[in-house]
């Protein structure tokens, strides 16, 4: 019995040879997975910091400067996503999806937040993806130079999945709620009403999707509803307190706060 066992450990056995190949394949896959997890963590952190930066917009004079800085930070994040795309070149992205989905969701949250501040609208999945196209130069050692392709350059793309997009947008609503409360505290009366309108649309959108979306969305729906509630409450308070302005003060207020008063909002 001891004899036959030694045979099996024989490295020339075809079984052992086959398993050596499997070993390489599995190790390569795990290594790639690990690299993706690490890049994803970087993407998460930088995206989160961009979001904090964007919240500074509401009380600094030089908003444009902050927005540009945020844009710059997101450019760096996109470079990281480019690295993810590089890793995924020729792969089935769903094979490694779990490794990078947290980072991508956070990026969607940051990018859509910046977009909302700039354009007061919801960035589309297509617009997100349009920014995730990367030009790369072929590394010399990988491909021979004698090939027919245009020498050096190629295009890499990264496609955010609809469900990562949705999950990112779901988180965006929390940031919008924070922005709304801050706006009230900063005496900005316009923004809360705009935000409540916008959040209501997103909420209606999510209600419309309901439980047909990914499981995690249903979990976030409750938080979304709470955020909407907070924003609606803020608008309610603005309206109620606005009802008390004595007639003689209206003029004064219009002078000092013109920027803030939406004519449509009537008394406020």
């Amino acid at each position: 019995a001891a004899l036959q066992r030694d045979v099996s450990a024989n490295p020339s056995s075809p079984v052992v040879a086959a398993f050596r190949v499997f070993q390489l394949e599995l190790d390569a896959k795990h290594d790639k997975y690990e690299r993706l997890v690490k890049i994803s963590r970087d993407v998460t952190i930088e995206s989160k910091r961009t979001i904090f930066l964007l919240h500074r917009v509401t009380n600094v004079p030089n908003a444009e400067e902050v927005l540009n800085e945020a844009e710059g930070k997101l450019d760096a994040v996109r470079q990281k996503i480019g690295q993810i795309a590089e890793e995924l070149r020729g792969e089935d992205i769903y094979q490694f999806h779990r490794a990078f989905t947290p980072g991508i969701q956070e990026y969607v949250e940051a990018a859509s937040f910046l977009h909302y501040i700039r354009h007061r609208s919801l960035i589309s999945l297509e617009e997100i993806n349009a920014r995730l196209v990367f030009m790369r130069t072929e590394r010399a050692e990988l491909k021979g130079s004698v090939e027919a392709e245009p020498p050096g350059a190629y295009v890499l793309t990264f496609q955010v999945t609809p469900s990562d997009y949705l999950l990112g947008v779901a988180d965006l609503t929390g940031e919008l709620m924070r922005m709304c409360i801050s706006s009230v505290g900063n005496g900005d009366i316009d923004t809360p009403f705009q935000l409540s309108q916008f959040l209501r649309q997103i909420y209606d959108g999510f209600s419309f999707i309901g439980n047909t979306g990914p499981y995690e969305v249903s979990k976030k729906l409750h938080t979304l509803r709470q955020s909407l509630g907070k924003v609606e409450d803020a608008c309610y308070t603005l309206r109620v307190r606005g009802s008390e302005i004595p007639k003689h003060m209206l003029a004064d207020l219009f002078c000092s706060r013109t920027a803030h008063v939406d004519p449509e909002e009537g008394l406020v």
């Binding site: 079984v15 499997f22 959108g205």
Partner: protein, 226 residues
């Protein structure tokens, strides 16, 4: 594009996804049905009477694999080929069962370890992901491990059926398999758990061989000229 439009747009994606999954589920049910039929055919080898019928049973199983290939062809049409891993969970279980069945048939026929290429051929799929619907290496390995546990049962039942040389051949085979698996670095995943089970199969077979040898029933395994 308005928020409402955006969500309708996304809803479109989601509905399409659900439809695809629904379609896949149906084909997978058919595959499971056929897999159970093949298993029933092959189970008879565990019975005393079944030992001489192995060749005919294998043939029968081979025929049923035609049906498997038809179902899998059908399955391939249900989703874009490059999104294999998006829907992997749906067929992973049955594919591992089928890999096991293919490996078992091949073992019964030739007492050799089926290659991943051979399993792929029997199932009518690819080995290399880039070429189309393929057999993941983990799924192939899982199938092989299910077979190992079936072989430990076979070793036991061979003795009952009076075949005293088969356990020794199984023992050699399974030891070689064990050596192979020891080369792998597995994660803490289902495959690892299954691989832990292999140790018990090896142990069981070793016990059978031991029982035979202390009774002088174990012939020097001349059969291992392979």
């Amino acid at each position: 594009m308005s928020v409402t439009d955006m969500f309708s747009h996304i809803q479109g994606f989601l509905s399409a996804d659900q439809d695809v999954r629904e379609d896949i589920r149906k084909v997978v049910q058919n595959l499971e049905q056929t897999a159970r039929e093949i298993l029933t055919v092959l189970q008879s080898v565990h019975q005393a009477s079944g030992f001489k019928e192995i060749p005919s049973k294998c043939e029968k199983a081979r025929e049923l694999f035609c049906t498997v290939r038809t179902h899998i062809s059908d399955l391939k049409t249900k989703f874009p080929v490059e999104q294999y891993y998006r829907f992997h969970e749906h067929w992973r279980f049955v594919l591992q069962r089928l890999a096991f069945l293919a490996a078992f048939v091949v073992y019964l026929e030739s007492e050799a370890l089926v290659t991943r290429e051979e399993v792929a051929r029997i199932l009518g799929i690819e080995v290399v992901r880039e070429k189309g619907f393929h057999l993941d290496v983990e799924d192939y390995l899982a199938g092989v491990l299910i077979m190992a546990s079936e072989l430990s049962r076979l070793a036991v039942n061979s003795v009952t059926a009076g075949d005293y040389s088969r356990p020794l051949r199984i023992s050699n085979f399974i030891n070689e398999l064990d050596s192979g698996f020891r080369l792998l670095n597995l994660k803490n995943d289902p495959l690892r758990k299954r691989y832990d089970g292999l140790k018990y199969d090896v142990k069981k077979i070793e016990e059978v061989v031991y029982d035979l040898s202390i009774r002088g029933l174990a012939k020097e395994p001349e059969a291992i000229e392979k």
